[in-house]
């Protein structure tokens, strides 16, 4: 009997954790760890359990649901660590190095997104690597596309900069057709607006 009570209590508390669902992200300025972004429209902040693999201080926003669009913010990735996390010891996740140049950031993201969808489950390509200033920091933006097995194709954009030897990276993915275009302008404006809060 005692075991049953313990089981029910544990289940209750676990489910209690799950009911923390999506929360509204109001238009305006938002701090994500040490990074600040400006949103001109409202988004929904996904709970951690809905976006497994994201780092503790990362946030995932969406408009129409994570399968259709997602805006991901990963602040302050330390030197030698991956952008996403995995429990699998053989995942061979690519890691960030503080000396990375723009082309290497592009490759890091490409390989990371392959791992995100599952190795062999997606062909990911990047294009239009271009310079972009994030506040006081030189950074880059580029386009990304993921052709995924048994899933829509996702197109997106990525913004990234290195500050204090840490990587600040954001990306937007939208499903083709329709959803990518629907939120692109909004998402691009938010990514472009990113700055390091402590220095601004």
């Amino acid at each position: 009997m005692n075991k049953r009570i313990l089981f029910l209590a544990t289940t209750f508390f676990m489910l209690g954790g799950c009911v923390t669902g999506y929360t509204l992200v109001e238009p305006g300025q938002h701090s994500i760890d040490t990074m600040t972004v400006n949103a001109s429209s409202g988004w929904n902040l996904a709970p951690g359990y809905a976006a497994p693999g994201t780092r503790k201080n990362a946030q995932v926003w969406t408009q129409d649901g994570l399968l259709l669009d997602r805006l991901v913010f990963v602040p302050a990735v330390p030197d030698g660590e991956p952008i996403l996390l995995s429990n699998a010891k053989d995942a061979a996740l690519p890691v960030f190095h503080k000396s990375m140049l723009p082309n290497e950031i592009e490759e890091l993201v490409e390989s990371t997104i392959v791992k995100f969808f599952g190795e062999g489950q997606a062909a990911v390509s990047t294009s239009k690597l271009r310079p972009h200033r994030f506040g006081d920091h030189r950074g880059v933006m580029f386009d990304i596309s993921a052709e995924v097995t048994e899933s829509p194709t996702y197109n997106g954009i990525v913004g990234a900069f290195i500050a204090n030897d840490e990587l600040y990276i954001m990306w937007y993915f939208g499903a083709e057709p329709y959803y990518y275009d629907k939120h692109l302008a909004d998402a691009e404006a938010i990514i472009s607006s990113a700055t390091l809060a402590a220095l601004n």
């Binding site: 490759e107 392959v114 062999g120 271009r130 995924v148 097995t149 048994e150």
Partner: protein, 377 residues
């Protein structure tokens, strides 16, 4: 033909096809149901973004399939899937999938044909149907066992069903051995080199040994198959005893080389994106040996060393890009990557020289804005 003349194999290997060409199930309802499932799967596959639609690659693979399949050729629809892993599969309906990872791992067309022969043998031996029936029987028995456990102890456990699943897997390994044996026979009958049937596994072993990060689970193709080493050994014994030692002259496989040379960039970029540098290096070694365009192979050596970023790798990468350029037909990105390496080492002048060459060769490069940023600095 070679097989019929071999008493040794005739004794050891009585296997033959179970169904005639053009087979369609007419009576068994479970088999008809299985076909409907696979037909639905094929409709989905037809829409996959990862389907390789390039005519060269599809014609190359389809030609191999038809040659090995002989009278069964029209039973198969071949789908080449963009996936850098090592795999091929076949359904009861004749839907064959070949992953691009098989193409980059083969040293010859014969090795691709060996895998194709194995898959065709699964089809003609009705292995999917056997598995379905075996699984149904064992799961039913497992459920009875689980029910007995619940009645006796009051606890619910899926132990019986789990055991049933394990035994289905084990049975499947027997089927894999059958497919190996019949596959090797039809490979030889199609006048491909039967020695390819074990060489393809020897290469998988070599790749696993070269891997920096070992996979905890074997690849999709290997996990239901006999242990790779064991399989390579028994196939080698079988082939040598039946067909004699491999005395085939080592000549360039022009068809495979044409496919690799024409599509190397996307094939190897997918491999590079796996971030598995030991494996990629092993593949590059093989491609260099079999005669893939050196400019392409050395370009990817450069990419692999640069991305691996271990001690000494920057110099190895730089040397590789220079080799690629000296070989005469480098991709434009070889100049760009070399430029970035110079930039990293602090030699901005050398970097700008390479960046200018890159833009000269590829004036419409989609990262022109980034390169011009560095040229203006």
């Amino acid at each position: 033909m070679l097989l019929c003349g071999s008493p040794a194999l005739a004794e050891k290997e009585p296997l033959d096809h179970k169904i005639p060409p053009g087979y369609v199930p007419e009576e068994a309802r479970d088999e008809q149901g299985l076909w409907m499932e696979f037909e639905e799967m094929e409709r989905t596959l037809n829409k996959s973004a990862l389907l390789v639609r390039d005519a060269d690659i599809n014609n190359y693979i389809t030609e191999i399939v038809c040659r090995v399949a002989a009278a069964y050729c029209n039973d198969f629809r071949v789908y080449v899937i963009r996936n850098p892993g090592f795999n091929a599969s076949m359904t009861a309906t004749g839907m064959m999938q070949i992953w691009t990872g098989l193409i980059i791992r083969a040293n010859s067309t014969d090795e691709i044909a060996a895998v194709v022969g194995h898959e065709i043998a699964h089809y003609t031996r009705l292995h999917s149907l056997q598995r379905l029936r075996d699984m149904k029987k064992k799961l039913a028995a497992g459920s009875v066992f689980d029910l007995a456990v619940i009645l006796a102890t009051g606890y619910s456990t899926p132990l019986g069903q789990m055991t049933a699943m394990m035994s289905v897997l084990s049975f499947s390994r027997e089927q894999e051995t059958e497919a190996d044996l019949l596959g090797t026979r039809i490979l030889a009958e199609a006048s491909y080199n039967p020695h390819a049937s074990y060489k393809v596994w020897q290469r998988i072993i070599a790749e696993e040994e070269a891997a920096a990060v070992k996979r905890r689970k074997p690849s999709a193709f290997s996990q239901t198959h006999p242990a790779t080493q064991q399989r390579a050994s028994y196939l080698e014994s079988l082939v040598v005893s039946t067909y004699g030692e491999d005395d085939a002259e080592s000549v360039a496989d022009e068809k495979l080389l044409a496919i690799l040379n024409n599509h190397y960039l996307f094939l190897m970029e997918d491999q590079l994106d796996t971030n598995r540098f030991g494996r990629t290096k092993e593949l590059l070694e093989r491609h260099r040996e079999i005669g893939v365009e050196p400019s392409l192979v050395y370009y990817f050596y450069g990419e692999m060393f640069r991305q691996r970023n271990e001690e000494g790798d920057m110099q190895l990468a730089m040397d590789s890009y220079l080799h690629s350029i000296e070989a005469g037909a480098p991709p434009p990105d070889a100049f760009k990557s070399l430029g970035y390496l110079h930039l990293k080492s602090g030699d901005n002048t050398a970097a700008q020289i390479q960046f200018r060459k890159y833009l000269e060769i590829d004036p419409t490069a989609d990262d022109r804005a980034m390169i011009e940023f560095y040229l203006e600095e």
